[in-house]
């Protein structure tokens, strides 16, 4: 037993429970707090399941997707985003992005599992799903494709992670590629679940599938920077020059993606204001009930503040990046909420001008719903903190693909390339301009 443990620890960087025992009391308390929260969440969720969701949930006939679906969307968007951003490196060979691969893939799996935890408490008969998704598939349903593709995505990501641990780079690259393709297909289908609903003008159209992909990449960039800089707080040793370079590169990409999403948002608002069907919802976001969500969280915390801080950080002030991306994660959560709920606020009979459908429909998340959402989110946090310790900060000397003709520079930790007839030393000198 111990023999094989040593082996795994060498090959995978798996340090097991011992690493947890060595963790500081504060760290363990934090993990304990998340474990308790997850436990509380799951018990409240199960209580709701037993009493019947319609007694305890805030969702209604008109607004049938509430905070649970928003949280689910948040999780799977982040998961897909992590996969997209990390694949720039270890699938497409963008060298600067390589060092983040292991942590990103690990977190991508965890976010996906967290999402499944949440959706478990939203779907009324989750056990039937396992059966009838298989024996009675509806191939024209986006929902079916979304579920099935995300299932496949999770499998690919787990296999990919295994090969990353095993340092079998060609297979991990192949799996990473499949994972990416399936993940993007799944994700655009999630957009289409919303975008192909008749009578929901706020969602209807090709906007959402496209927006979701860009938005996912943005969330992925944000999440990987957050978890990496937080890991650096936990254990400063994980930052070598390669990691620093990776953070810097991701920071640039994320800045670009935030700007893209800003454009998306601006045009959503502007076109929505002049659209007869949407203006009521848009006004609720801009000046009505959802104005705080929209301006304070989605716009300020989700985009403006992180954009400012990330630009200021120049990609190397890790404290600043950590705060920027941490707050941005909160903002992104509201971004998802602001898509899911407002799309249902207007009754389908509004255009008929009937008394029953004049006003926008209200929704307030109930205690049970919030707890069930917190269940999934705390599972993610718990797994993250456990992973950082048990997997040794996702570090091994080299867990990334080293391209042919390249080698890891012993000086800076980056990948260098040798030219014809050059020795490693010559190449290093050339790269570091010490001649």
């Amino acid at each position: 037993m111990t023999g094989s443990m040593v082996n795994i620890s060498k090959r995978w960087g798996y340090h097991g429970l011992d690493a947890l025992k060595k963790a500081s009391p504060g760290y363990l308390m934090l993990m304990g707090a998340f474990a308790l929260l997850a436990l509380a969440g799951v018990s409240v969720g199960l209580h709701g399941m037993i009493t019947g969701y319609h007694h305890v949930y805030g969702v209604s006939r008109e607004i049938s997707w509430g905070i649970l679906i928003s949280a689910y969307v948040f999780c799977v968007v982040t998961s897909t985003g992590l996969c997209i951003i990390s694949s720039i490196g270890h699938v497409f060979g963008g060298e600067a992005f390589m060092p983040i691969a292991k942590r990103a893939v690990f977190m991508s799996i965890i976010f996906m599992l967290g999402g499944f935890c949440i959706i478990f408490f939203d779907i009324e008969n989750p056990f039937r799903m396992a059966i009838y998704n298989v024996i009675s598939p509806n191939l024209s349903s986006n929902m079916w494709w979304m579920g099935t593709l995300y299932g496949a995505y999770l499998v690919f990501m787990i296999i990919e992670y295994y090969f990353l641990l095993e340092q079998n780079h060609s297979l991990s690259r192949l799996m990473g590629f499949f994972g990416l393709v399936v993940g993007i297909a799944a994700h655009s289908n999630l957009g289409a679940v919303f975008g192909m609903l008749h009578g929901r003008p706020f969602w209807y159209g090709p906007y959402l599938p496209i927006y979701f992909i860009f938005s996912a990449a943005m969330s992925g960039g944000c999440a990987i920077m957050f978890v990496s800089t937080l890991a650096w707080k936990i254990n400063p040793e994980i930052m070598n020059q390669r990691m620093e370079r990776a953070i810097k590169a991701i920071c640039q990409v994320t800045i670009f993606l935030i700007s893209t999403i800003m454009f998306f948002t601006i045009w959503k608002i502007v076109t929505g204001m002049v659209s007869h069907d949407k203006s009521l919802v848009i006004m609720a976001l801009v000046t009505g009930d959802y104005a705080i969500n929209f301006w304070c969280f989605e716009i300020f915390l989700g985009m403006v503040l992180p954009l400012f801080l990330l630009v200021r950080s120049r990609g190397n002030n890790f404290n600043m990046i950590m705060w920027a991306t941490g707050l941005m994660m909160v903002g992104i959560f509201f971004m998802r909420y602001d898509i899911v709920i407002p799309g249902q606020m207007i009754s389908v009979y509004h255009s008929l001008g009937v008394e029953e459908a004049l006003d926008i429909i209200k929704y307030t998340p109930s205690f049970h719903e919030i707890m069930a959402a917190l269940f999934g989110l705390s599972v993610i946090c718990f797994a993250y903190f456990a992973g950082e310790k048990m997997l040794n900060g996702h570090q091994l000397e080299k867990h990334e693909i080293v391209p042919e003709g390249g080698y890891i520079c012993p000086g800076c930790g980056a990948i260098h390339f040798m030219e014809e007839g050059e020795t490693e030393e010559d190449a290093m000198k050339r790269h570091h301009k010490i001649w």
Binding site: H54, N133, P137, E356
Partner: protein, 275 residues
Amino acid sequence: MNFPKIDLNKLKNEGTESVTVKERRNFLKLGFAITGVYASGKILSLSSVLNDVAYASGGTDFVEKYPYNPHYSMVIRQSLCIDCEKCVEACNKTNHVPEYGYRTRILTRKYQGQLDKKVEFIPVLCNHCNDAPCVRACPTKATYKDPVTGIVRMESKKCIGCKTCMLACPYDARYFSAERHAIDKCDFCWEERLSKGETQTGCSSACPTGARTFGNLTDPENIVFKLVHQSEESVWVLRPEDGTKPNIFYMKGNMVSVDNILKGQKFIYSDPAKS
């Protein structure tokens, strides 16, 4: 029978625009085979083209073919509805609808005229759409279009409760029933009445004014066929822009015209089935 004082002729028609004879001819010249309804000069509900049932060779008119037989449908004569909600009661009782849900409801529309106020009641229910968005959206085929009758039904044991169909339905016709552990919706009383040999739904037989008429659209002798195929009054559907091809038709329900349509047959408003 007392009816509220409503100026029938001044009520706004929210349906499709009128189509002139010329436009109608032009339309037919396109050579599209139409399975759907062409009523009172208004094209209401067209299904996909290139069906082998084409217009009659004479060229001035076309043969309609409905996709189902019997093709169940309901025609709602809106101005006859007095909001007594007897239909809703009957529906709840027949189909054991829990108190937090409904399969059908009556909407109220108010007009502020220059001299008076006018109220109009609009019964709504599942439209049993020919192109049903709920059926497309359901991941497990738990909701499906009955291949014979065209009724959109539920196979409850397959429903996973994802609620996608509730959002996909542009008529708010679905709710989740905790008792059934599945979505519940109007099935034209198939399970409780039609499959047991009845010819009317609970709501249509309970309606004291004949606002709801239920029947088979493929049968030229049937009341719904006659109401849809008359040319005195306009007939419309709700939300035609969604392209769902609904099977619930609305008309104002001007009595004189109805009598004309029925060509002198005495129409007993309390029991449309016996017309």
